[in-house]
Point group: C2
Chain length 258, copies 2
């Protein structure tokens, strides 16, 4: 079974030109088949602000009204995605920029309104693993922005962590999938203030122990719950850490298995 690495990067890497360049060097050098998923971050907020559109966030999630969706489409699918694609091409990595609407690669539906109306936010229904597999086998490296569509002409703002997870799950029937979540910390830390308290390996048993010890920080809880959900759906392993974890000589990150 071929291996596919699915790497998710967030706003902190995208917004820093030097950090992005370093990351893309590492990503382009990564052996084997690979997929990049990128969020958007502050650039959308900055553009919205320049255009006089107020950014509304609830619990860290953006409320996507019609005007905000336009801004997001411009920044995520336009500026960020195409710059990453062009920079990967310069590194001889044959990148193909995609939203979920392109090739109908990611189907989603507008999140139903319960206590909060998130607007044009998408919940993923599934991925077109046949087409994504074909892209990979053609030697292309898909680069997904955090947008999907509902099949009826509506684009939807969609969480990049979720897109990466669904791609890893959807491709796990065809490939051995490894999911990399890059963020600003070295990985799961026993003490968030102390980079030397890294947990290098986690599995269901050690995770339960850390939970019982009350060691897992609040912000980390949903991330880890998501990791175990993904692992329970045939994804081989999940790695969490600083973007530098993609360097083969670096072993200072957290690897999570079932």
């Amino acid at each position: 079974m071929d291996k596919v690495s699915i790497v998710k990067i967030g706003g902190n890497v995208i917004e820093d030109e030097v950090a992005l360049g370093k990351f893309l060097d590492l990503f382009a050098s990564l052996d084997g088949l690979k997929i990049l998923v990128h969020g958007g971050g502050k650039m959308a907020t900055q553009l919205a602000s320049k255009l006089g559109i107020e950014s509304k966030m609830v619990g860290g999630r953006r409320i996507t009204d019609a005007e905000t969706l336009q801004v997001i489409t411009m920044v995520y699918a336009g500026l960020t995605n195409k710059n990453i694609v062009a920079q990967l091409q310069a590194r001889r990595c044959n990148a193909l920029g995609l939203s979920g609407a392109d090739g109908d690669t990611i189907q989603a539906h507008k999140r139903p309104v319960e206590s909060i109306d998130y607007g044009f936010a998408g919940d993923v229904d599934g991925i077109n693993s046949t087409l994504v597999t074909k892209f990979l086998e053609t030697g292309l490296t898909p680069v997904f922005c955090a947008m999907t569509h509902d099949g009826n002409g509506q684009l939807l703002n969609t969480n990049a962590d979720t897109i990466a997870a669904e791609l890893a799950i959807g491709l796990s029937n065809v490939f051995e999938t490894i999911l990399y979540y890059c963020f600003e910390k070295k990985g799961v830390l026993k003490n968030v203030e102390d980079d030397n308290s890294l947990v290098e390996h986690l599995n269901s048993a050690t995770y339960r122990q850390l939970l019982a010890d009350g060691v897992i920080a609040d912000g980390m809880l949903p991330k880890l719950e998501n990791c175990f959900r993904v692992l329970n759906k045939n994804v081989g392993k999940v790695c969490i850490g600083h973007p530098s974890m993609l360097a083969s000589e670096n072993e200072l990150f957290t690897t999570i298995t079932l």
Copy 2:
């Protein structure tokens, strides 16, 4: 030999929601393999203006400085391209949005500075016909925005008519290619004021005659020169007219052959 229709639409269609919807109905219903190429138009100018960026045009061509390139990337590759893709998906046409950087589909170089510095404007070197053919054979309908790249990480603003022409030329070794240029008139008119003066067929001989008669309007000259250039490079035929020419029952447009 399979047939491929390459259709170019301009700003006047893209900017009008109703006209765009009608056009996409026709395009989605078009039989056989097809490619859409779209320009950008006034939306980029409007966004630039809102952001306080001055739009500089020389001879109808945009001077693309670094800030303008960002605006164009947001509007062409983001907003316009993804909306067209999502709307084609709603019409069960499996669209794949592309810039020339995606899959390295269109290689270009920055236009050398002679009397005018066009900034980040691209002149096309060639297209990746192998990959575009693979997309078509996979059942995908490529939707190109008017952007290319130089292979060294630089995106380039590139004329949509030229991209359509180069795709038609590049694919003519594998397919019978037909190029459709949609614009606001019915086609080539003997009298620009009179829609009934349509020239339905043009070839090298009748074109020379019209030139001798001084019938071809100034604005039409470069368009027609480009058409014959394309025909001389193995493209089967070029059709010029209103977007409604894509309707099978409509024969009121100009067909140009060698």
